[in-house]
Amino acid sequence: MIHYLLFFIFGALAVAGAVNLLAQKHPIASALSLIVVMGSLAAEYLLLGAEFVAIIQVIVYAGAIMVLFIFVIMLLNAGEEPRAGGSSRVAWMFGFPAMLAIGILLAWVLVKRDAANTSVPVGAMYGSPTLIAEQLFKPYLLPFEVTSVLVLIAIMGAVVLARKED
């Protein structure tokens, strides 16, 4: 019972944040809505028992990646999006309702299919850091090391690309 309640509260918060991201004109407001989405998704991960992934979502995604976005928005000081002209109205009139229809259809199909059979146990925290570390260092060691090289390349790339030409 309480699981349903928590799922719906955080789910509604996430969807509200996502819709707000589309509705807002200023990028800062969109960024803040995205942070709300990420926070509510972290709560959903906790409901699914993935505690390590939830807190990493907060630390890395909401606490570092989004800070980077907000930095760039503040530095570039990009103003509000002007009200869209000709071609974008077509996108609004056909694209957005189409996306809405597809989203609702997909959601309805998924809910109808599995509503009776399966269920996700809640509160059984089996995403503990120890277990995830065992997975990362034994079966998935190669991807783990490769991602560290990837991050190094990304750091170097970002520094080179954003450097001012002296």
Partner: protein
């Protein structure tokens, strides 16, 4: 106990919002944020399936998705800064030619 389908439905709705944002918006940074929203939606379905099948691989994959998303957003934002420096605009409709 919340059925698996509900989590997948939430993930689908968020993914749809991400795609809509990617197609509708004109500010490069907002388009980028829609990409992050799509990645988050996918993460949610990974974790939901991991909980459903009681396998930890889903959560490990989410970890990798987050690392890749961090790397991609760092490089992408650096590119956006470089584009802003030459074109002085963040409107994606005006950055559509290689010619300045």
């Amino acid at each position: 106990m919340v059925p698996l389908g509900y989590y997948l439905a939430l993930s689908a709705i968020l993914f749809a919002c991400g795609v809509a944002g990617f197609l509708i918006k004109r500010n490069i940074i907002t388009i980028f944020m829609s990409i992050e929203l799509m990645l988050n939606a996918v993460n949610l379905s990974f974790v939901a399936f991991a909980a459903h099948w009681h396998v930890l691989s889903g959560q490990v994959f989410v970890f990798f998705v987050m690392v890749v998303a961090a790397a991609e957003s760092a490089v992408g934002l650096a590119i956006i800064i470089a584009v802003f420096r030459t074109r002085a605009t963040l409107d994606v409709d005006r950055v559509d030619l290689l010619k300045l």
